[in-house]
């Protein structure tokens, strides 16, 4: 019996196990325990949540491997970590310490202004952000085994995540109605490989798991993204920048499971304390937006 590791099926497979779940940003082992106890299906280990990265400015890099390992030791659920766009050595380091998923993330400062990491080179799977179908398919062609919306991280404003989810899912719906001969020009227009465009048309969805991320702050935000059609939700600053992280985290987990049940959504939304202080994306200077990072 020959065993195979690092195949696309097992990379994509872990993301399939995360579906219907909430992946939470954590900066300490204590946070990670709170997230796990609240029912997170995975955690994202990083030194600063996006809201703090935004506030601090400067260059944001991969977190200290020692800090990530401490979080890996503290929980049994999968642990993800971020590398900079195009920084394949940060990715090699994260693979070497055994993280379960790498987020090649626009939240960190890009290390390459033209190329992303060739994710086929790795046994560890990658998740990447996307604002539209073309961007999602470019990342998948580079080897991403999971896609998420970019949203606008660290704002607590869900509008960009909604925009990106509607873009991807709406383009898939339009693609489903196209004639075969239209696919070639369409693939060229959106900058995606025609083989993947055809696959999406056949499946009626992305060929990998598709989560929401970037600005989710409440149970209602999470359920909104699920009703729009994503497979699960990342919550970054929204939990540990709020008044009662444990309670809010558990409420968002329940909201993702029961995303179509308004009575349960009302129940879990009660008395959650202060949400994170939001930043309105529509009045934010262009230069401060990070979703445009990525090519």
């Amino acid at each position: 019996m020959e065993t195979t590791t690092g195949s696309f099926a097992v990379k994509k497979g872990l993301a399939q196990m995360l579906k219907g779940g909430v992946i939470m940003d954590v900066v300490t082992p204590e946070h990670a325990k709170i997230a796990e106890d609240a029912g997170a299906c995975a955690v994202m280990a990083l030194e600063r949540v996006p809201a703090d990265i935004r506030a601090d400015g400067g260059v944001a890099r991969m977190s200290d491997p020692g800090m990530i390992e401490a979080i890996m030791k503290s929980v049994t659920i999968p642990v993800m970590a971020k590398c900079r766009i195009g920084h394949f050595v940060e990715a090699q380091i994260l693979e070497a310490i055994g993280v379960d998923y790498i987020d090649e993330s626009e939240v960190l400062t890009p290390a390459d202004d033209a190329h992303h990491v060739n994710k086929h080179d790795f046994k560890v799977p990658f998740v990447c952000g996307a604002r539209n179908l073309g961007e999602a398919l470019r990342r998948i062609s580079e080897g991403a085994a999971m896609i998420r919306t970019k949203g606008e991280a660290g704002t607590g404003d869900v509008v960009e995540a909604v925009k990106h989810a509607r873009a991807v899912l709406g383009e898939i719906r339009r693609l489903s109605n196209m004639a075969e001969e239209e696919l070639f020009t369409y693939a060229k227009e959106i900058g995606a490989p025609v083989a993947l465009v055809k696959e999406v048309r056949e499946l009626g969805r992305l060929p990998v798991v598709n989560f929401a991320a970037g600005g989710v702050a409440t149970p209602a935000d999470a359920a909104l993204m699920m009703q729009l059609g994503v497979d699960g939700v990342f919550v970054g600053s929204g939990i540990f920048k709020s008044g009662d992280p444990a309670k809010r985290a558990a409420a968002i987990v329940k909201a993702v499971t029961h995303f179509q049940d308004a009575a349960i959504l009302a129940e879990v939304s009660r008395n959650l304390g202060e949400p994170m202080v939001g930043r309105n994306v529509s009045t934010m200077p262009e230069i401060e937006k990070i979703a445009g990072r990525g090519w």
Binding site: T3, A9, V10, G13, Q16, M17, E36, G39, G98, K254
Partner: protein, 192 residues
């Protein structure tokens, strides 16, 4: 026949796709009343800690135990952990099968793997000969079986990756991730 899939978290949609391909009526189960008219239930892959917390929060643990008295239940990966009596750590379990499991027994995600398994009982039940291609994702191992539970399949080194006890079925791997429907057919024969 109507088969439910516990839809609290995990890859329940993949199980439903396979069941529909086999012409079975399906239902997503998130609340106890949704168990009422089912002939069998699948506990999908996912995170066992997440699924158990949600099952407790929405009052499903006892109804699931009662369901198992007469009906078939199949747990894949996280679902197998939930069915077990012992997961060697402090976490809530249904405790329905006399099996001890070890979570993440093969290591982290980079150690997740695919392998062909020889499963005589599956081949006999489906009148087929081909080996069964199995996908293991951060998989648990069935460390031991006791009582009326018995092993259905082992790796080359003898470690147990599938077990059966009456109408209860546990697999470390994920038949819902592959196009081979034989394990689902086998489960339907238990539920019938």
């Amino acid at each position: 026949m109507k088969i439910g899939v516990l839809a609290l978290q995990g890859d329940f949609a993949e199980h439903i796709v396979t069941l529909k391909r086999l012409g079975v009526e399906t239902a997503e189960v998130r609340l106890p009343r949704q168990l009422d008219d089912l002939d069998g239930l699948i506990l999908p892959g996912g995170e066992s800690t997440t699924i158990a917390k949600l099952a407790i929060a929405f009052g499903l643990m006892e109804p699931l135990r009662i369901f198992a008295r007469e009906k078939a239940i199949w747990g894949t990966c996280a679902g197998a952990i939930l069915l077990s009596k012992d997961a060697k750590r402090d976490q809530p379990l249904l405790g329905l099968m006399d099996i001890t499991v070890e979570r993440n027994a093969f290591g982290r995600q980079v150690d997740s793997f695919e392998v062909d398994l020889d499963i005589p009982e599956l081949k006999a039940a489906t009148a087929t000969q081909a080996p069964y291609h199995a996908v293991f994702i951060r998989a648990p191992l069935i460390e031991s079986v006791s009582g009326s539970a018995r092993s259905l399949s082992q790796l080359a080194d003898g470690r147990i990756v599938a077990a059966l006890q009456g109408k209860l079925l546990a697999t470390s791997f994920h038949p819902e991730l592959t196009p081979d429907d034989r394990f689902h057919e086998y489960f339907l024969s238990l539920a019938r």
